[in-house]
Subunit: 328 residues, 2 copies
């Protein structure tokens, strides 16, 4: 397509592969290249797009409209976000909620200096869930908002399990408690403890000779990760782990229960996701916001932006008149 | 509150009363007055706010920041929308979907000439449902979107019942078909006929001596309204109608089932509303968009706008930094 939006991907893990696949679904975009910290010769992208080292990024300043940053929030983005926003309009999925204000400030300064857009914390939480929390609270100022996650694979909790001595492998699923969701949907505005909202289910492969009871005790009592939850630990074979737990499903619910007319009427707004693939969905959101970021930059705007700053129409390849006619 | 956004309400039916109640939930807004086509002396607003005739509107040009138009889409808004947008920033719930392009053009011309914002078709459908159709399609370009309505009272279908000879009173509820929703949520992208998506349930009070079988036949065979649906007709007493069918509940579901990674992964996005009061919820959406319309006008923008054009952050009274910290 002529005048296609030219995209670069920085980092080629699950998220980067998801972005690569999502771009193929958007004919107004063209993937220019992948940028990796690994040896480019060792990376074989599915789409056959060229692979470059990070040192080559700068020479793409006039070849790439939007860089989609697919690195991690812990080690990669705090450095890459500001650094690349100085040169490119960027989109990332920075998801360390408590560090967002600080990260925003760093990206904002870089993007304003570079006259670019630094679109950050895009995905589903932060991202689509945040948007729904905002819409719901603005529309129903009297009420309470609840976020439930799952059923879904938690990467952080799976990693925590795998660090327990005696564990060879394992995964952890977060599950919302149906009863708590029903209470919220009824409009009763319950106060819910951590334990009442979610349960955790672990599937663990033991090292040979490991003590199952000790492993289980170590998991369920682990502070921050499991101690505050009702946790189930299932021991399975390596074969079963490989066959039945090799995908990354996730999802969840944002529910606001509010009152209008001096409490006379209950009004419930709910948004939910049921995802076969968490990274592929996150990637799809990143790609839609790459379109919006490019348009904002073309309008002459600059600085850090979040999903809260983007008019929804900018996400779609369709014209405003088309959207009003077909979707309004 | 100093610098409160000064609101006027045009039209004082169910929707106008809902707006009046919603403004009381938003401390950054102040209701200046109601404007009515009736004799102002005969209108007694709950909040005690002054009531004016329509002929007095013009002298409020510098007293009101946003006029919220609460008239009907059939007779009131096509005339009032452009007329008032020439003088005031306006928000309305114009919901005649097929006439939106024409209405948009008329309001746009008036608002541009008046240097105002004409925010139109705000509510839940059009409105929040439209937004969710747009987000879902932009994020998951390969897939299908389904809208289900109900369970809810349909004003138009209730009116149609009441026009049937022999009917003294009645209401109609639209219900989504659970099986169809389950199919959609499974990601199977079914093709659904009108009859497969919704059923209609009527509660009818007969005139004395009316023929129940004839009334039922007239209802279920009515073209456009009932003939394409499975319709149930229940005959009830006037007392039961008054006691059990005197509220205006509604709601519904927007579900998109999409595929990523060349069809390998199913991804389902769902938004739903469960409303005790349809007009009060619509009013709450109007009020949030009144805040946004005022801000756009203060930024120097003008012209017709829809929910697609409004960055979500503009809906909230909270600062952008606050929103990022608490809701992102």
């Amino acid at each position: 397509m002529e005048n296609a939006i030219r995209i670069g991907i920085v980092g080629y893990g699950n998220l980067g592969r998801g972005v690569e696949a999502a771009i193929a679904q958007n004919p107004d975009m063209r993937l220019v290249g992948l940028f990796t910290r690994r040896d480019p010769a060792g990376v074989k992208p599915l789409s056959g797009v060229p692979v470059y080292g990070m040192s080559e990024l700068e020479r793409f300043r006039s070849e790439v409209d939007v860089m989609i940053l697919c690195g991690g929030s812990k080690d990669d983005l705090p450095q890459q976000g500001p650094q690349l926003a100085a040169m490119f309009t960027t989109v990332d999925s920075f998801d360390n909620h408590s560090a967002i204000p600080e990260y925003f400030a760093a990206v904002d300064a870089a993007a304003k200096a570079g006259k670019t857009i630094g679109m950050l914390s895009v995905g589903w939480d932060p991202g689509m869930f945040s948007l729904n929390r905002l819409y719901a609270e603005a529309i129903l100022p009297e009420g309470a908002t609840y976020t439930f996650w799952g059923k879904g694979l938690s990467q952080g909790h799976s990693d925590a399990i795998r660090r327990v001595p005696g564990v060879k492998g394992g995964v952890q699923y977060t599950l919302p408690v149906q009863e708590a969701m029903d209470q919220v949907r009824s409009g009763s505005n319950p106060t819910l403890s951590t334990r009442e909202k979610h349960t955790r289910e672990c599937f663990v492969v033991l090292e040979e000779g490991a003590d199952a009871a000790a492993v289980k005790a170590a998991i369920v009592s682990m502070p921050a990760y499991f101690a505050d939850y009702d946790t189930t630990v299932n021991f399975i074979s390596e074969e079963e782990l490989r066959q039945n737990h090799n995908t990354m499903p996730h999802g969840g619910f944002v529910i606001r229960s509010g009152q209008t007319n001096q409490g006379a009427s209950k009004q419930v707004m709910e948004f939910s996701l049921k995802l076969d693939s968490n990274p592929e969905y996150t990637a799809s959101v990143l790609v839609a916001y790459a379109r919006a970021a490019h348009r904002l930059q073309q309008q002459g705007q600059s600085g850090a932006k979040t999903v809260f700053d983007v008019a929804p129409g900018l996400l779609s390849p369709r014209s405003a008149a088309d959207l009003r006619k077909d979707l309004l």
